[in-house]
């Protein structure tokens, strides 16, 4: 995760337009050969194998036994599976929606208010502070907070104790575990949209803001009618990349809660890992991973579609 290619990502989503000029194209396919071999071995074959395995019962040793769609019917009746996707929705809120909304307000305030009233250095220092958690490996971010929220020796209980609060097992309490993980992910994620949105705002013609200011438009009106429409492409990219990141989240769950307590923080990624490597239900794990893949592809297609529609209208 951390440290995304800020403006590189928005560009990457757009398809380069081929030049109309024809040039000789013979012989270039040779350069694709190394990749063709490696992609087949590392992505294509494993991906197809995983789909194949999802239709079998297999312990990882011996021969897989063909089951047809049994794993999938079992999956859709499995309360833990649905719970894992509900928890995943909570993590999409924490990793994509809240950071995008808060990031928009922060980026616009830093750019349009702090940058102008207090100078660009103040704005970029604050931006760096918000961004710092993003440089951590996501698993290390989990380790940091695992220590802070530790029930026996963590700093959070010590701090709240100053105000007379009872010590609490933040990650061990079924009611608190998911909100705690969500809070950690908001902390981790917030800097990414701030940086991308501020880079996007550089593009906006300052005359737009000046004209609006002269017309007496309030800060919120400028935010709503200039900032948001102008950086719409960046908003889509942030929502898409963060939603996918939330759907794939594994490291923090592994180091903080292992999906517990009692499945309160179980996510599809960890659920499949459990079935693969802890319970030796390889077929079932493969079915979970396949469904997760389909969800991710559906989300990607959905975002690219609405983005295309927007582009077509404007």
């Amino acid at each position: 995760m951390a440290v995304h290619a800020p403006a590189a990502r928005p560009k990457a989503v757009r398809e380069p337009e081929p030049r109309p000029r024809r040039r000789s194209t013979g012989g270039y396919w040779v350069f694709l050969l190394p990749s063709a071999v490696l992609f087949t071995a590392v992505i294509l074959v494993p991906f197809l194998m995983n789909i194949g395995i999802s239709f079998t019962r297999w312990q990882g040793i011996g021969d897989p036994r063909w089951l047809g769609i049994d794993n999938y019917t079992r999956l859709f009746a499995d309360e833990r599976f649905w719970a894992s996707f509900r928890n995943n929705v909570a993590l999409i809120v924490a990793m994509a929606i809240v950071p995008t909304v808060v990031g928009l307000v922060l980026a616009a305030t830093l750019f349009d208010y702090v940058g102008k009233k207090f100078g660009p250095r103040t704005a970029s220092t604050l931006r760096a502070a918000y961004y710092l958690p993003q440089v951590l490996p996501i698993a290390i971010a989990g380790i940091v907070w695992g220590w802070i929220m530790h029930p026996r020796y963590g700093a959070l209980n010590a701090f709240l104790g100053l105000f007379g609060a009872e010590p609490r097992s933040w990650l061990g309490d079924p009611g608190w575990a998911l909100p705690s993980v969500m809070l950690i992910m908001v902390w981790f994620q917030i800097g990414y949209p701030v940086v991308i949105f501020m880079a996007g705002l550089q593009r906006v013609d300052p005359a737009l803001y000046e004209a609006a200011e002269m017309d007496g438009a309030s800060w919120w009106r400028r935010f709503w009618h200039i900032t948001i429409p102008q950086i719409r492409p960046e908003i889509y990219v942030v929502l898409l990349t963060c939603t996918i990141a939330a759907l794939k989240v594994f490291g923090p769950i592994f180091v903080l809660t292992r999906g517990g307590p009692g499945g309160a923080t179980l996510v599809p990624s960890y659920f499949s890992y459990q079935n693969f490597f802890e319970k030796a239900n390889v077929g079932y794990g493969a079915a979970i991973a396949t469904v997760l893949t389909l969800v991710i592809i559906a989300v990607t297609v959905f975002f690219l579609r609405i983005q295309d529609n927007e582009d077509g209208q404007s």
Binding site: E15, S35, P46, G60, W147, T293, I296
Partner: protein, 271 residues
């Protein structure tokens, strides 16, 4: 006036809140266990105490973990850039037939969750004798990172000035020569940004290295620290020391590469 500063103060308070976890982990990493039991985690430490960090370093052979992470991330960065350049040369400049579909394949590969590949990769790498080896992880991440690299570079090279290549062709330079003598040197800024991103992304990876690197001597920094969580031997100050050791390399990379990374914003936006 009051309003002007209240905005700044609330933004600064938020910045402090964001930084508190870093500060509190550092404070407790350099605190002695006696100090911790006397004063708790919130006060300033009595003095600088590095024994906890040293003891943790030696116990997990942290130097070895750093080396593993460096070897894996460094190799992946170099190899994935090479692979991306080769692909992008064929797609962006060579415009081979079916290039749009090939790009779609790379895009899909880029969004696939690793969970959908992990078990077959685990099984196949055992067959190939690459399980629990740094080489196995290097090969896998080279391919995964180059999926993104190809996608990005193909669009950058699609706008490569053709006049230069045509001039080279007239001078008798073959495709291979044109790639290494002209395309690569001219695209250096983009390639170095890509190199750094691949390095950091691979350093930060957790899921596949956790599955593939089970023996102690092969583990990377995040995996080694991740599997120690909940270890009964870890007391308050030593846990804190372990978190600090995970934070430090990431912050160091960020400080070293910051300038290249900000330059990357403009490089990525080449029209």
């Amino acid at each position: 006036m009051i309003r002007k500063y209240s905005v700044l103060v609330s933004l600064a308070v938020l910045a402090v809140v964001m930084l508190v976890p870093f500060v509190i982990v550092t404070l407790n990493a350099v605190r002695s266990p006696q100090d911790y039991s006397a004063n708790g985690p919130l006060s300033l430490p009595d003095g600088l105490y590095f024994d906890g960090i040293v003891e943790f370093w030696n116990r997990v052979d942290f130097g070895g973990k750093l080396w593993n992470s460096l070897v894996i991330s460094g190799s992946v960065a170099v190899l994935a850039v090479i692979l991306s350049v080769l692909n992008a040369y064929a797609l962006g400049i060579g415009r081979v037939r079916g290039r749009v579909w090939i790009l779609v394949v790379f895009l899909v590969a880029n969004t696939l969750p690793q969970e959908a590949l992990v078990y077959p990769l685990y099984y196949l790498s055992k067959q190939a004798g690459l399980y629990d080896s740094r080489l196995g992880v290097i090969i896998i991440f080279t391919v995964i990172q180059s999926a993104f690299g190809t996608y990005l570079l193909a669009s950058v090279l699609g706008r490569f000035p053709h006049e230069i290549l045509e001039a080279a062709a007239i001078d008798g330079a073959g495709k291979w020569r044109a790639l290494w003598r002209i395309v690569v040197p001219i695209s250096r800024p983009t390639l170095s940004v890509l190199l750094i991103f691949f390095f950091i992304w691979t350093w930060n990876e957790f899921f596949l290295p956790l599955v593939f690197l089970i023996s102690n001597e092969n583990q990377t920094v995040p995996v080694a620290l991740g599997v120690l969580q909940g270890d009964k031997m870890m007391d308050a100050t030593m846990s804190s020391a372990s978190a600090l050791l995970g934070i430090l390399p990431a912050v160091v990379f960020f400080l070293i590469f910051q300038r290249t990374l900000t330059r990357g914003v403009t490089v990525g936006a080449i029209k």
